[in-house]
Symmetry: C2
Subunit: 354 residues, 2 copies
């Protein structure tokens, strides 16, 4: 039995209906339109009054800061296109089943984020010599795994002070939408989305590893519940195609007319540029290279396309597989771990040529 | 066995991850923020080039029209807040199970739509005396129920020429987002969302009832597959609450501190104003009236709130039930029909008081 015969509970369905993914046809946009970028909201979207909201920067720093949104907006600003994917993307296809947000393939998006480099803020606060990590905590609170918590994550000093890490207040040229972290969020390009803490409340330099639930318990690669596991960090290589032709409403199977079919998609990796994308029309038995296209910036997905010439009417299984500059290629079969993280197995699209 | 023990297939899950609902905490906004309004997209979001796009108005009219987006925008404009709900909202809780988009509760939203009254356009085209309906067809195409189709619906002349029916090009002050029908859609206040055809391509006055699949086969109240059934039209009364307190990530159960708790929500009906909203903290055995609040316009949901005084720590089941001006009240148990339409049974929220 593979996951195609699996079923999902009401609790999982509730998560699927509130945390939405990108409709796959929207992969044709280099920048995902407002409202179509994937969302994973662990708890509730908090209500924030910017008149009283302050970002507190403290812990192992020489000069603790309390900064308003205007203070942040007055700092040097950077706009960059960033592709972000949920670490749980693909979880619905891992087997044995893992119970959590049941993403199929669609937990990804690319936005143009505007903000200020985190490094400058940390420099102003003056990290003390014994600081080894920076913890980021949001205003969103709840219970996860039986633990009451605010959502929090940490980064090493090296990762936190990388050029591309931003404190962000705009997305696609507008103030952040409530669901994307208004008024201020972290954006850590290349990493899975759990890293980019939304609704920032406080940033704390710490001299011991951060022990928050989402860092120490969740988002770890484990083969058994008992082992500590390795942290989930950067995005593994993945490619997705815009399903060609016309869909069936219920099955999402596709129908195309005979003749050449241009298949296009996007590919990304947090471990380096995309080196190649392979395309298969026979379920992954044989592959041909796709043509690589544009990317909206060094941290954004890369377009790809291929002209497919189906030889005769019938049913085909289209697949795509990206390989990144670090030499890692998407697997044919889903990897498994306790959390169901980072299942970057190749996409499979059923197409009938008429 | 009730639907709480039901399970959902991969096909249903695929629909749930692409067609997103409003996170229930966002019911606190009178106008739903961009990107949080529910979406049901039967086929694919079409790509539209406004340089070549035209709305064709024809059929049983004296003066067929072919109008550009600029032509539409030059006409008298109206902005109105409209609450829209999917006819399939609540389908996941009907039993026996109905297989289609598996909404739990969240297929609703309120937007400020800007457009021009349809009636003026129909007057310019000059409906002929034998026209009995107006058909609306979109640019979205696919297969549903085994039938290849463009998405299409119709209205009687009386319904189509009502004051509040608009051809809409803006939502919340911005051009329509691609997923909401760019460049032009129909908005029919009070009716379930399937009526408000997106990505309009043509409007056709007809002298026989429209036979499109979404009118003649889908969206009908039927108790058996064989009967023609009655058409699904206006929204039944429904109220939803913002789940109070703090959630558990996985179960969405709520936790609140002892002491008075303000519970707020929204209520709406397509059959008249909301007359009252009842609140229960014991699973619907006893009820008290909520205080009714503002509504952003005659076609928008109405706010309501109640101060709940839980008497002791423990677990409670909160419910709310709206009654509309036509005297219809939400039922305690889900109604059933073949399509799983219009299940407006009361919302139930599990809350633990600590």
């Amino acid at each position: 039995m593979d996951s195609g015969a699996a079923t999902w509970s009401l609790e999982e369905l509730q998560l699927a209906t509130r945390n939405h993914g990108v409709p796959l046809e929207a992969l044709r946009y280099p920048i995902t339109p407002l409202g179509l970028h994937y969302l994973l909201i662990h708890f509730d979207i908090p209500v924030v009054d910017t008149d009283t909201w302050r970002l507190e920067v403290g812990g192992r720093v020489g000069r603790p800061l309390s900064v308003s949104l205007d203070d942040i907006r007055a700092r040097p600003s950077v706009t960059q296109a960033v592709t972000m994917e949920c670490a749980g993307n693909g979880r619905a296809r891992v087997w044995p089943r893992v119970v959590s947000q049941p993403w199929v393939l669609e937990a990804v998006g690319t936005a143009e984020w505007t903000g200020t480099p985190l490094r400058g803020v940390l420099e102003d606060a003056g990290l003390l010599d014994d600081a080894i990590e920076v913890a980021f905590e949001g205003l969103d609170a709840g219970i996860d795994g039986g633990v009451e918590q605010v959502y929090g994550r940490s980064l090493s000093i090296e990762d936190a002070t990388a050029d591309e890490v931003l404190l962000v207040y705009e997305s696609n040229g507008r103030p952040l939408l409530p669901q994307h972290g208004f008024p201020l969020r972290l954006i850590v390009p290349g990493w899975y989305g759990m890293t980019s803490v939304k609704w920032l409340d406080r940033i704390t330099a710490i001299s011991e590893p951060y022990q928050g639930y989402q860092q120490a318990k969740a988002y770890r690669y484990r083969q058994t519940e008992d082992e500590p596991g390795e942290p989930v960090t950067r995005m593994k290589p993945r490619s997705l195609m815009v399903p060609p032709g016309m869909p069936d409403f219920m099955t999402r199977e596709r129908f195309v007319e005979a003749g050449p079919v241009t298949v296009e998609g996007r590919a990304w990796s947090g471990w380096g540029n995309i080196a190649s994308v392979g395309f298969s029309s026979d379920g992954g038995h044989t592959w041909s290279p796709a043509e690589l296209g544009e990317q909206a910036g060094p941290h954004a997905w890369r377009g790809w396309s291929v002209v497919w010439h189906p030889e005769h009417p019938g049913t085909y299984e289209l697949c795509c597989a990206a390989t990144d500059g670090a030499g890692e290629r998407q697997p044919l079969d889903p990897p498994w771990n306790v959390g169901g993280y980072a299942n970057n197995a190749v996409q499979r699209v059923q197409v009938t040529v008429r």
